[in-house]
């Protein structure tokens, strides 16, 4: 007995329909009440209207005989008024539904996006965002995969419920004529509905399973109209080839869902025969009784439209197709949120003012979850506080991975990283991350104002003058409009990054939105963005970060700007614990110490002079590059 009730409970808990209902009740009580009212009205009003109008029809013959002033005439008029008013109210369904849908979808889509956003921000690392399984679910949950997102599901569900109720009431009404007619219709629809619905659900699942193929297909289509692909598509004449691949992948993906549709059509015809049987029996019984005069004319007039109305008890329509699709992506939301919140492991020690002594990697290893061997293996390295270290190595040597380990964006799979002797895992990850100011190689171009792009660290800060005595802002939530950004620090950071003139030259100066996609927004070049990214990190350092990491900070700068950058290198990194990753020796040689990363380990470590003298791979790389400038001209090339 308990096992049965447990099974039922489990099935209820996993039902996507109930989950959708729960999503609404969690979102808003008022909305829930409104939707319940809507379902009841939607169910009752049409049936009430039809019954009243049917009664009115039944009173017509006596009214003809006795006149409208007679008791039959009165009940005719009352039934007529009730029927007309109920029908009129039922017509308001469409505006009410539209309004509820707007409320529901606003509450749901922002609500779900918020929950998802919060969930993906939860883990202190970023490995979850590199996991294709998570990305798939993210895409599915945010409704990208179907045209109707899960946010529309509750209203579609309410609409369907109203229909179901209407259909049920129609069956009840029929049962007042002959109990078995009502039962037959109800049983018939109830029997037909689940298999048809299951087939539609199966199709939605098949579409979801086809995601990998469809993803290929979208990717290829994207190639054909994304600006980034334009030059190579043209140069290599890839247009037709790419579109052909798009088509093939798409047809492969859709083959099974389509086959399912065909099966659905065949079944529909089969079940149509059951429906025909229901109608022949029901309408036949009614016609017979009417002919015998064993029922009144009013009953005939009431029952006839009920036949059609019962269909709503088992209706499977086009709306069900989209409802199934919406519901199909709902479970992903819960799954992804559960999965991400389970992965959070907080440390507790505050990292404020760290590091004062240094950062030490002790036989650190790291292997990507999808990788077959470690990228970093048994690596030992020390960053001395206040000094700069340059990291060089061939592509793919793991330089950027090392940076993400340092910033605790990943957790080492072996060894440990000590900050002033404290294991980084014991530190509060968020507070440690904030100590590290980074110019990433693939830095982000935020569609925000120039002020916010540079003063990024403080976009959520509360302005000093607004801060109350207890540190609480007197206004609403928080200063989340960048009012907490310190203009003086901003200007100096931009100046040092060589970005001040370019920002002042923007159409609206510091308030210019740095994205062409927005009204009044501006497009910046790669070199301009590079300076802004550098300014962003310098601002962060000036506002409290103690570690500065520069990953290929000059990759997009031209000769003059690059020269200016390395001339200022010492000034920029003064007082900070700096790690610079670069291929450019002009920058590298200015670091206090240089480490060569090869095969996941540090193979050489020392100052520029020391490493040159050691004659190892660093010396080889440097002389090769320097030889190009030595005036030897075109004869060199070191083949």
């Amino acid at each position: 007995m308990t096992s049965v009730s447990q099974t039922v409970a489990r099935r209820l808990a996993s039902s996507p329909r109930l989950r959708v209902a729960r999503l609404v009740t969690e979102t808003s009580r008022g909305l829930t009440a409104a939707m319940v009212l809507y379902v009841i009205a939607d169910g009752f009003l049409p049936i009430v209207a039809l019954v009243a109008l049917g009664r009115a029809v039944g009173k017509i013959p006596p009214a003809v005989l006795h006149g409208l002033g007679s008791p039959s005439g009165h009940s005719l008029l009352i039934a007529l008024v009730v029927g007309t008013v109920a029908y009129g109210l039922s017509l308001l369904r469409s505006p009410v539904e539209a309004l509820l849908e707007a409320y529901c979808s606003a509450a749901m889509s922002t609500g779900m996006q918020r929950r998802l956003a919060r969930a993906v921000c939860e883990p202190e690392g970023v490995e979850h965002l590199e996991d294709p399984a998570v990305l798939d679910k993210l895409a599915s949950a945010s409704g990208e995969l179907s045209s109707s997102g899960p946010a529309d599901a509750p209203m579609a569900l309410a609409s369907a419920l109203g229909d179901r109720l209407s259909g049920f009431l129609a069956c009840v009404t029929l049962a007042t004529f002959r109990w078995w007619v009502g039962l037959f219709f109800f049983a018939g629809w109830i029997a037909i509905r689940p298999p048809l619905r299951k087939m539609l659900a199966a199709r939605a699942t098949l579409v979801r399973q086809a995601t990998p193929d469809l993803r290929h297909s979208w990717y290829y289509l994207g190639c054909s109209y994304r600006p980034a692909f334009a030059k190579e598509i043209r140069m290599f004449g890839l247009a037709d080839w790419i579109l052909d691949r798009h088509r093939t992948a798409w047809l492969t993906g859709m083959a099974r869902p389509w086959a399912q549709l065909r099966k659905f059509q065949q079944r529909a015809v089969l079940y149509g025969l059951i429906v025909a049987a229901m109608y022949v029996t029901g309408a036949g019984a009614l016609a017979l009784a009417a002919y015998d005069h064993s029922i009144s004319l009013g009953t005939v007039a009431i029952m006839l439209p009920m036949f059609a109305s019962t269909a709503q008890a088992g209706g499977v329509s086009a709306a069900d197709v989209s409802l199934e699709q919406m519901l199909a992506s709902v479970p992903d939301l819960d799954e992804i949120i559960a999965r991400l919140s389970a992965s959070a492991v907080p440390g507790t020690v505050s990292a404020a003012a760290l590091p004062a002594a240094g950062i030490r990697f002790e036989s650190v290893s790291y292997q990507y979850p999808t990788g077959d061997r470690p990228v970093i293996e048994d690596l030992d390295l020390e960053l001395i506080a206040g000094q700069s270290l340059a990291l060089v190595g061939i592509n793919g040597a793991g330089k950027t991975t090392l940076l993400t380990l340092l910033a605790r964006l990943r957790e080492a799979t072996g060894g440990r990283i000590l900050i002033d002797g404290t294991d980084v895992r014991e530190l509060d990850a968020r507070s440690w991350q904030r100590q590290v100011a980074v110019v990433y190689q693939d830095f982000t171009r935020y569609p925000l104002t120039a002020r916010e792009n540079v003063g990024f660290r403080d976009i959520g800060a509360i302005p000093d003058e607004q801060q109350g005595p207890d540190g609480q802002s007197p206004g609403e939530r928080q200063g989340i409009d960048g009012q907490g950004i310190d203009q003086a620090v901003l200007e100096s950071a931009a100046e040092r990054a060589g970005a001040l003139d370019l920002i002042r030259g923007l159409p609206a100066g510091w308030d210019t939105v740095c994205s062409p996609g927005y009204l009044g927004g501006t497009d910046l070049s790669g070199g301009q963005w590079q300076r802004i990214a550098l300014a962003r990190a310098l601002y962060s350092a000036a506002r409290g970060a103690r570690v500065l990491v520069l990953d290929e900070p000059t990759a997009q700068l031209d000769v003059r700007a690059e020269a200016a950058f390395y001339d200022r290198f010492l000034d920029l990194t003064e007082g900070l614990t700096t790690m610079v990753i670069s291929h450019r020796f002009a920058t590298v040689r200015r670091a206090d110490r240089i480490a060569v990363l090869d095969g996941g380990r540090i193979t050489e470590l020392g100052s520029h002079q020391e490493l040159l003298a050691a004659g190892g791979s660093y010396a080889e790389m440097f002389t090769m590059q320097a030889a190009a400038f030595s005036g030897a001209g075109r004869t060199n090339g070191a083949a």
Binding site: L196, F229, L297, P305, I459, G633, G637
Partner: protein, 596 residues
């Protein structure tokens, strides 16, 4: 050449022709099913009347006739609706892929890059891409409207047969339709106003859920601030969109109240007539049933009309793109030589990006000698990439001519000229497919030729990349499709390999192809490439044009072109330019200082 067909006809073709061509049989079946189900559903109320009046007058034949109609019409409609929905769903799917291919095909068939680089054009294309589903849905919507129209006319006729003034009631449906449109306008205005905040809302979400920005959010410690902003912005957007939704709902309700009043008056009058013996009870049942049906058609049609309007707007965008492609497509008759004998010449070439004011190239005169290697240097924005785009036929000069062995490039179809060019760019593409295909794409006819692909991989210095992958050439790359991720440098080597696939090009452009490569690789690569370029230059007259910031590479070129602000300021080989002590020697010294 601009298409001469009238615009309305072309729009209709964009809306329906696509589906028709994608699946003629399916389309025809869909139409037939729609027709049959509308006729059947009209028969239903007539059956009602026969049964009620037959019962009232005790006429067995009428009752049986009514019974047959009801028993056939309802199940028939039921089946046809289900089958129709399934067929329409497939039709929409089929149309969807056709529309996607059409948009993608046009965007990639346009010979020049204007539509990708002008913000206003790009916005149109983005819009078209996002809304192409609406275009795919148009045939199904039209069928829905066709059904509505048939039923509407049928209902009006049947009503008129009962009592002609009843025809007015379905005509009152104009009220909700009109009110609906007023409401839709309110919502459209608010949607336009909210476009930017909504985009930012989604941008903020994707920042939080994409790996690279997520790293930054963490190291700058602003994940919380970003979430707060997302919440606040979402609240603002919701408040404003709900305000307009309320206004729209009030409009719509007003329209329905008018219709309901009409319905009420009509039914009351009809029943009163019946009470005076001027109409049968069956007629009342029939009219109620017909008017309910009419109302459902109105509801359905007004929803459909809304999406249809969107589809129509999308169709207009598609026509715009068609016109743009037709306008820019130039099918020159000129031919490209087998091998270069003299070279490529720029004569007084000037160029301004469409939609901009500043000259990107100003009166450029330049000769690229057959068989030579030419390096172009200059600061950001000097016009280097523009020169490359003109050279590879991605744009045409506004004035002046570019000639290839004396043949004006303006008279050569861009497609043909590009077949003779190859190269790699700094903003290279990371093709998400098997590694071999991604490289082989550089020379499609030989994409299956593994030896050729491996050869290019060797020339591009990517042998090590391939060697490290367990499935070699068959390794699927790109996380978006579930493939492997590579580092920037590894991707760049593959892009370079792709650019070195073609065997006998006339022009190779290398637009900063090694910017993210490390020092030894770059030196080795260029040295290796230079030998190959020499051989090609001698046999084929192939010209290599290299754009680079690295003077260590640049100085090896036969000719060095120094550009500044869209003009050529110096030309010569390394020695000449160093002696000239102009801008080149200054920049060279600046960079060399790092190695002293």
């Amino acid at each position: 050449m601009v298409l001469r067909k009238p615009r309305a006809l072309r729009r209709a073709d964009a809306l329906f022709g696509t589906a028709w061509r994608a699946a003629p049989l399916l389309s025809a079946t869909c139409v037939l099913v729609a027709l049959a189900s509308s006729v059947l559903s009209l028969a239903y109320p007539v059956g009602f009347r026969a049964i009620v009046d037959g019962a009232a007058d005790h006429q067995r034949e009428r009752i049986i006739a009514g019974l047959v109609i009801v028993a056939v019409a309802f199940p028939g409609t039921w089946i046809l609706q289900l089958v129709g929905a399934a067929l329409n769903s497939k039709l929409t799917d089929m149309a969807n892929i056709r529309v996607g291919m059409k948009v993608g095909g046009l965007a990639s068939a346009a010979p020049y890059l204007e539509h990708f680089e002008r913000p206003d054009y790009l916005a149109e294309i983005d819009n078209l891409r996002e809304r192409r589903r609406t275009l795919a849905g148009a045939p199904a919507q039209t069928l829905g409207m066709l059904k509505s129209a048939i039923q509407f006319v049928g209902i009006a006729v049947l009503l008129a047969l009962v009592w002609w003034p009843l025809v007015i009631v379905p005509l009152l449906a104009a009220a909700p339709a009109w009110a609906d449109r007023m409401g839709a306008q309110v919502e459209k205005r608010s949607d336009d106003e909210l476009a930017d905040p909504r985009r930012l809302l989604n941008d903020l979400f994707s920042l939080a859920s994409t790996a690279a920005p997520a790293r930054e959010l963490r190291t700058f410690g602003v994940t919380g601030a970003l979430l707060d902003r997302h919440v606040k912005l979402g609240d603002t957007v919701n408040a404003r969109s709900l305000r307009s939704a309320r206004t729209a709902a009030i409009w719509e309700a007003f329209g329905w109240v008018v219709y309901a009043a009409g319905f009420g008056v009509a039914i009351v009058l009809l029943v009163l007539r019946a009470a005076h013996g001027a109409a049968s009870p069956g007629a009342v049942v029939e009219v109620v049933s017909l008017l309910r049906r009419a109302q459902r058609q109105v509801t359905g049609a007004s929803t459909t009309a809304g999406s249809f309007a969107t589809a129509s707007a999308t169709a207009n965008r598609l026509l715009w793109l068609e016109d743009y492609v037709a306008r820019t497509t130039a099918d020159g008759t000129g031919t490209v030589p087998e091998r270069l004998t003299s070279g490529i010449r720029f004569d007084g070439v000037s160029f301004t990006y469409p939609g901009q004011d500043a000259l990107a190239l100003h009166d450029v005169n330049l000769t690229l000698t057959a068989g030579s290697t030419v390096a172009i240097v200059g600061e950001n924005g000097a016009g280097k990439s523009t020169l490359i785009k003109l050279l590879t036929g991605m744009y045409r000069p506004d004035s002046g001519t570019i000639t290839v062995d004396g043949q004006d490039l303006a008279s050569v179809a861009p497609r043909r000229w590009r077949e003779a060019t190859t190269g790699a760019f700094q903003d290279y593409v990371r093709l998400n497919m098997s590694l071999g295909d991604g490289v082989g794409a550089g020379d499609l006819p030989r994409i299956e030729d593994r030896a050729a692909v491996l050869g290019a991989i060797g020339r591009g210095g990517a042998d090590q990349v391939v060697a490290e992958l367990p499935q070699g050439l068959d390794t699927v790359l790109g996380p978006y499709i579930g493939g492997r991720s590579l580092s920037g440098g590894q991707w760049q080597r593959l892009a370079l390999s792709r650019g070195l696939m073609r065997e006998r090009p006339l022009l190779v452009v290398l637009d900063e192809p090694t910017a993210s490569l490390d020092v030894p690789s770059e030196a080795a690569l260029f040295a290796r490439y230079r030998d190959a370029a020499r051989a090609l230059g001698e046999s084929n007259g192939t010209i290599t044009v290299l754009v680079s910031h690295r003077f260590s590479t640049v100085h090896m070129a036969d000719t060095i072109v120094v550009m500044d602000q869209g003009k050529i300021v110096e030309i010569g080989d390394h020695e000449t330019l160093m002696t000239a002590a102009g801008p080149y020697s200054e920049l060279f010294a600046l960079q060399a200082a790092g190695y002293k």
